[in-house]
């Protein structure tokens, strides 16, 4: 029931042993561009953080094929319950980099109104990319609940729920997978085994033989895939999505990949990640590998990468400029969205905050009256 030897399609030289992908040429190119976009977005965020312009970011280097490959197997009408490292899913499906950048800066144009830390995105357009929560695993049963609703309404949409190797130890994983198994929910669980949960190596997280086998505890088939191989990831996710759409229930996918950067910009991975391991994975770079495949099919020119890179850079630089120029959220955003309507006690606290700001001559006070 569990496949533990990872599916792998693209050989180091870019050949595929006759594998026929269901991705069209356009889709392949879209994947390639999205991966490059993720990489550029990631680089720029790291620089912004280093220079103190944003507080925090989550490195994505090395995991692009898993995110983009998975996203490419889903429709825009499907629901995404992402983890904080899933930039690629949003970018592939056409979330504007500037929208993401507003969140990185926590400005007034951020969909979350600057209430969350950076990388905690939330979008309803062009896809349901559900608001990310920092507590690990809480979104897993939520995805199952959303899938239950789809099922009950007879829709053919599915939910994808992505989490890390560490996330499998969370309570949400246990409840979420158990419920999904019992309900045969149209959901795809994507466990991105990127080698570490902060500093805890993935083989100390659990004693099980890999992560896909954990599906068996819930009657859910488990599949293992080479997470640095975009075609392979696309294939297993597409299969799982097809099962889910056909009413055959959930699948647990373990994508074996590697977090090349630190856990976050606050982390120093050299304290605990052996340098050899990083070297080993460098050789398996997912973008290079996919590029060699595209080359083997004659889909890219020698200068395509540079060109796409430059295009991405231009877009993201513009996004940074725009996001940086946007103002901080207004003081009233502390008090709004706590409830559908602002209750009296919060209104009073809001007015107090404005009064104090006005008395102290703080610009945040506006005209001194609580604007909502």
């Amino acid at each position: 029931m569990t496949s533990t030897s990872p599916l792998s399609v693209i050989e180091p030289d870019g050949s595929v042993n006759g594998h026929v992908t269901s991705l069209s040429k356009d889709e392949l190119m879209r994947c390639y561009r999205a991966m490059i976009m993720v990489r550029v977005f990631d680089e720029i965020c790291l620089k912004l953080q280093r220079s103190g312009r944003i507080d925090f970011s989550i490195p994505n280097l090395g995991v692009e094929a898993t995110q983009v490959g998975a996203a490419s197997a889903l429709r825009a009408s499907d629901w995404f319950f992402p983890s904080y490292r899933d930039f690629g899913m949003a970018l592939y499906h056409g979330v504007e980099p500037v929208e993401m950048m507003h969140n990185m800066f926590g400005n007034e144009r951020d969909t979350a109104k600057g209430r969350q830390m950076p990388v905690h995105f939330s979008f309803v357009d062009p896809i349901h990319f559900v608001s990310i929560s920092s507590p690990i695993g809480t979104h897993i049963p939520q995805a199952v609940g959303a899938a239950y609703a789809m099922q009950q309404r007879g829709e053919d949409t599915v939910a994808i729920c992505s989490f890390g190797d560490g996330g499998t130890s969370s309570l949400g994983f246990h409840s979420g997978l158990n419920f999904a198994g019992v309900w045969k929910s149209p959901v795809v669980f994507l466990c991105q085994n990127n080698g570490y949960a902060i500093s805890c190596p993935s083989d100390e997280q659990t004693a099980s033989d890999g992560y896909a086998v954990k599906g068996e505890a819930y009657g859910i088939p488990g599949v293992t895939v080479d997470g640095n191989d975009l075609l392979a990831v696309h294939q297993v996710v597409a299969d799982a999505v097809a099962r889910a759409r056909a009413g055959d229930g959930p699948t647990l996918i373990e994508a074996k990949t590697f977090r090349m950067g630190g856990h976050s910009t606050s982390d120093d991975p050299t304290r605990y990640v052996p340098a050899e391991l990083v070297e080993e994975w460098k050789a398996k770079d997912p973008v290079d590998r996919f590029e060699r495949y595209l080359q083997s099919r004659g889909l890219v020119e020698p200068d395509s990468r540079a060109q796409f890179h430059a295009e991405a850079r231009t877009r993201i630089d513009a996004a940074v400029k725009e996001a940086q120029a946007a103002a901080d959220p207004g003081l009233e955003t502390i008090f709004s969205d706590v409830y559908a309507e602002i209750p009296a006690h919060l209104r009073a606290q809001g007015q107090e905050a404005y009064d104090l700001a006005a008395r102290k001559g703080d610009a945040a006070a506006g005209d001194g009256s609580f604007p909502l």
């Binding site: 929560s133 920092s134 507590p135 130890s169 959220p329 502390i334 945040a364």
Partner: protein, 324 residues
């Protein structure tokens, strides 16, 4: 004596307790080779071995549940929850189990253990790396809740908590981890739980506070003094069981009270202080008790400096109370 930051004092406290008592074990997420995300446990695995300072899988419920079993069976666990915001998977184990074990077993089984966790805002952590959840836990008989605000207290209270026969939730004000330094004695010493710390004397207004708010209140008190208002500051430092008599005495001394905490106001710790004063010494009061607290909203990110009580807001309350 060494001049240490608060986080260094915590580290020193752990090391001291581990050296003194071989049953003390430290564990949690990333506390091993990495030394904890704030480096509270730095060097402990190296010094005491993997059996005494180690990483666990990513499950707070498992961390606290296992700690209870260890405590019942002769070890002294000191569990770290990486951020207090992530303690809720363990809420059941803390509230239903650790806090009730002695009582429900008629004293036959106990869970002497410490759960250390960084809490509070000030690091741009947004909703989930900033909260002050003490009120949830202060509503839990059987648990002790301790909050240091200086390096000296951090070490002394931590060692006292580890030696205490009851489960202690040790809330570390992470905003102060590296912000303040202070003299910390070498070797073992303890600061008694359930005692108050007089931070500053003053005859006009009494301010009750704890954790990172102590420094904020001190700043406000200095400014108030410039306009002739003398402020007494009391650091509560053990919230449960609280030195209630000490609080009442302090309230009576000035008859004017301000309570300050970062946590939301509604049903917050300030409500307890205020009710206690109303019950036990209302006849001494010259002014209504004023509360300066976080708003009754989740914790914002970009605007956290507006959410957190700052010296301006505390000063405002001190002035209003003094002039009432």
């Amino acid at each position: 004596m060494a001049n240490l930051t608060l986080i260094q004092a915590v580290n020193d406290g752990l090391r001291t307790a581990m050296s003194a008592d071989p049953t003390v074990c430290v564990f949690g997420e990333d506390v091993g080779p990495k030394g904890g995300v704030f480096l509270a446990t730095e060097g402990l695995t190296k010094e005491f071995g993997k059996n005494r300072c180690f990483d666990t899988p990513l499950s707070e419920d498992g961390i606290v549940g296992a700690a209870i079993g260890m405590a019942m069976n002769g070890l002294r666990p000191v569990a770290e929850i990486q951020f207090q915001d992530f303690i809720f998977p363990a809420f059941d184990q803390i509230v239903s189990e650790a806090a009730k074990l002695r009582y429900r077993s008629g004293g036959q089984y106990t869970a002497p253990m410490v759960i250390r966790t960084p809490f509070g805002g000030g690091i741009r952590g947004g909703l989930y790396h900033s909260q002050s959840g003490e009120a949830y836990f202060c509503h839990t008989p059987g648990l002790k809740v301790v909050v240091p605000s200086t390096p000296y207290d951090a070490k002394g209270l931590l060692i006292a908590s580890i030696q205490d026969p009851d489960p202690v939730l040790f809330l570390e004000p992470k905003a102060l981890y590296r912000k303040i330094k202070g003299e910390v004695p070498e070797g073992e010493y303890t600061v008694d739980l359930s005692t108050l710390r007089m931070v500053r004397e003053g005859g006009d207004v009494t301010v009750f506070c704890y954790g990172a708010m102590v420094a904020v209140c001190e700043e406000a008190a200095r400014t108030a003094a410039e306009s002739g208002i003398e402020t007494e500051i009391v650091d509560l430092r053990t919230l449960l069981p609280l030195d209630e008599d000490g609080v009442i005495e302090a309230a009576k001394r000035t008859g004017r009270v301000v309570v300050v905490h970062e946590a939301p106001r509604f049903c917050g710790f300030g409500a307890e202080i205020s009710a206690m004063i109303a019950e036990r010494c209302i006849e001494y009061m010259e002014a209504p008790v004023a509360r300066v607290a976080g708003f009754d909203t989740p914790f914002p990110n970009t605007l956290e400096h507006h959410y957190l009580p700052d010296a301006r807001r505390v000063l405002d309350a001190i002035e209003r109370t003094a002039r009432y």
